[in-house]
Amino acid sequence: MITHHLNDKLLMAYAAGTLPEAFNLVVATHISLCDTCRARLGAFEAVGGAVLERNIGAVPMAADALSATLARIKAETAPPAAASRPAAPRDAVLPAPLRDYVGGGVDQVRWRNVGGGVRQAILPTSRHASARLLYIPAGVAVPDHGHGGLELTLVLQGAFADEHDRFARGDIEIADETVEHTPIAEAGADCICLAATDAPLRFKGLMPRLAQPFLRI
């Protein structure tokens, strides 16, 4: 049961297509797990449909536009009713959008140790924001950090809790500069999260500070 959802702001920006790639990946992954937000996204896209059709006017096409378009359609070799692409093999932890970035399931992730038993894998996205997978052994604290910008953390396996709340598979934590917290992975299954941020993390405390160069963030 997912209890922490995307907010309107993120859904609208994702519907409009204006988020940095790393945030798009988190939103797409959350929606892959959350029917509620999938339905809400449909509503935000419907607003886009209304803006397109009714709110911004029309600009006449060139005189030969229709015939040119029909000629292109005729010339194209692809069958009109192209089938949707075959689904990639399923994975118990990584939904489809993440599998595309990892190049396979969770066993394909190339983890790097970052100290304290915590591992991470940075995912290739645009430089406007960064995305990484985090592996936090059960019972271990994620290094204490504040946030310089927006940070999204989506749980894929296990659960973590901080001073405020508990987050399990599918739950997304949306944190900005006002949030300072020390999430701890719950006992039981090790915790795997997808985290994205548009600002470098500010770590407090000696060990994490030493580890920061290796975190490459």
Binding site: D8, K9, M12, A13, Y14, A15, A16, G17, T18, L19, P20, E21, N24, L25, A28, S32, D35, R38, A39, G42, A43, E45, A46, V47, G48, G49, A50, V51, L52, E53, R54, N55, I56, G57, A58, V59, P60, M61, A62, A65, L66, A68, T69, L70, R72, I73, E76, A78, P80, A81, A82, S84, A87, P95, A96, P97, D100, Y101, S126, L150
Partner: protein, 197 residues
Amino acid sequence: MLTGRKRSAGRRSGQTAVADRQADDWAELVARVAAHQDADAFTALFEHFAPRVKAFLIKSGAEHTLAEECAQDVMVTVWNKAAQFDAARASVATWVFTIARNRRIDMLRRDRRPEPEQLDWGPSADADQHDALALQQETEKLARAIRALPEKQRIVVERAYLGELTHNEIAEETGLPLGTIKSRIRLALERLRHAMS
């Protein structure tokens, strides 16, 4: 070919914007393209949507020539993907918007936008006809609701969808009257849950 009826509908679009066709007719036209590669149906869709997509792309920052070319690309995609359109899931305007948005991201070399995992929404034939009709008409409802917003707020919504605002510039409370389509969110959810069970 932009003559008569359709063209005048385009001119009126800013204010009253009562399209000559009903929203559910657009869905019927897409179905005809999908089933019979019906060029007449496509022509009607083209004359209504292509000038709007072009306006959308110009207002998103494209030069006229580029916008013209990309609007044609969008309409080629409408033809090619007609079979994937699901009238019980989105209005034609909404579906065209998503195609135009994706074309704009490529056109302006914006950040990649991964899609959520595709779900089987269940057979659309099962969807209640009345619900499907209401969904096709929601664009009208939403457009009216957006126009009823205070001007400042309306401009923010339009600019957000034209790609002019970053996520930081979109207010936490969007002010969008999504209550007008709350029932639609509920219906989508019911359908998803039904398909999963």
